[in-house]
Symmetry: C2
Subunit: 200 residues, 2 copies
């Protein structure tokens, strides 16, 4: 059985949201599973000396238009969040905590978090919102709330981010399939052909 495809994303990334709606189906067409790995891009941005795209002169204005247009192009609901970008520490921690227990539940949580942030304009930067969104998809809020304050979960996220940097992940979405890196939902056509052909 082949290794899973690694899907890296930041919960505050619009392109990560678009990718999250397509990655599992794309992989499944090739009989592959996907491991989801939320990261915080701030660390990579520091290494690159760069800033979130929406804060860059010229590129920022374009990107806001492109977020919305790309969502329409892919047939996905999208509303520009009032607070953007945000720190998605709590969302990422909650995801890993859930993934360790139940991968399918973690993905349901991730979809719900993306939808809350990019469709209903809920500020998922707040841990309270993350817990509430979890509850709405069937995750017991009591242990989740406790876990979010636990040092071991904080350390866990740090290690995941360090590992992603070590693998060259610098953007969202970022997919690594059989060692080959693909940055951007606009590389899904190449990813698709790569999985089909085993490389080109």
């Amino acid at each position: 059985m082949s290794d899973p495809i690694d899907f890296y994303f930041d919960f505050s990334s619009p392109y990560g949201y678009l990718a999250s709606a397509r990655i599992d189906a794309l992989a499944a067409r090739h009989g592959r599973r996907v491991r989801w790995n939320p990261v915080l891009l701030g660390v990579a941005f520091k290494a690159m000396g760069s800033a979130p795209i929406a804060e860059v002169p010229m590129k920022g204005e374009y990107s806001r238009r492109d977020f919305a247009r790309s969502a329409r192009f892919h047939g996905l609901a999208y509303r520009e969040p009032s607070h953007f970008p945000i720190a998605t520490v709590a969302a990422a921690r909650a995801f890993y905590w859930m993934r360790d227990q139940d991968d399918a539940a973690a993905k349901r949580l991730a979809h719900a978090l993306f939808e809350a942030y990019f469709v209903r304009d809920v500020n998922i930067g707040h841990a309270g919102e993350v817990v509430a969104i979890g509850a709405a998809v069937g995750i017991d809020p009591v242990p989740l709330k406790a876990a979010l304050e636990d040092q071991s979960l904080k350390d866990r996220l740090k290690r995941e981010i360090e590992a992603s940097i070590g693998r060259g992940v610098f953007g969202s979405p970022f997919v690594i399939a059989d060692g080959e890196p693909f940055w951007g939902v606009d590389r899904f056509d190449q990813l698709d052909r790569w999985l089909e052909t085993g490389g080109f």
Copy 2:
């Protein structure tokens, strides 16, 4: 008759090269013409506080792999230039000089310049190479050589670049169709649908 589609690019941009091989055919499918506009991205990079992608930590390594893979994906020859990126002042000036006389000849020159740089590893940063490449596609080297040293052509390129900045052009390739901006050859799918539907 509708306005032409504006295609902006830097002669030292690999994605600009890939786009140059496809843009005219894409537009023609929708009965549209394309106006080609070489620019020097250094000016926009200064405004954004950014650097050429290949010089950015993490992103640089990825991008070199992506240039070659994207070329294979699009079925185009590609060899990483020994000198990259380069200042393409002479190439851009030569293009505008030719465009004012004969648009088709200017496009032939552009294709030949891209092919020289990205397939045959010729350093088109040298004015002498630009003139020689022009000669090979039937452009008289004597008036071209003289034009490249003329102040009015230097001013002309400056004005074109200023105008592109004014229209929000910050990358290569960059297409503006009926006021709508598209950055990247990976937005050609959206451009194609936009021209088909008149907007989505």
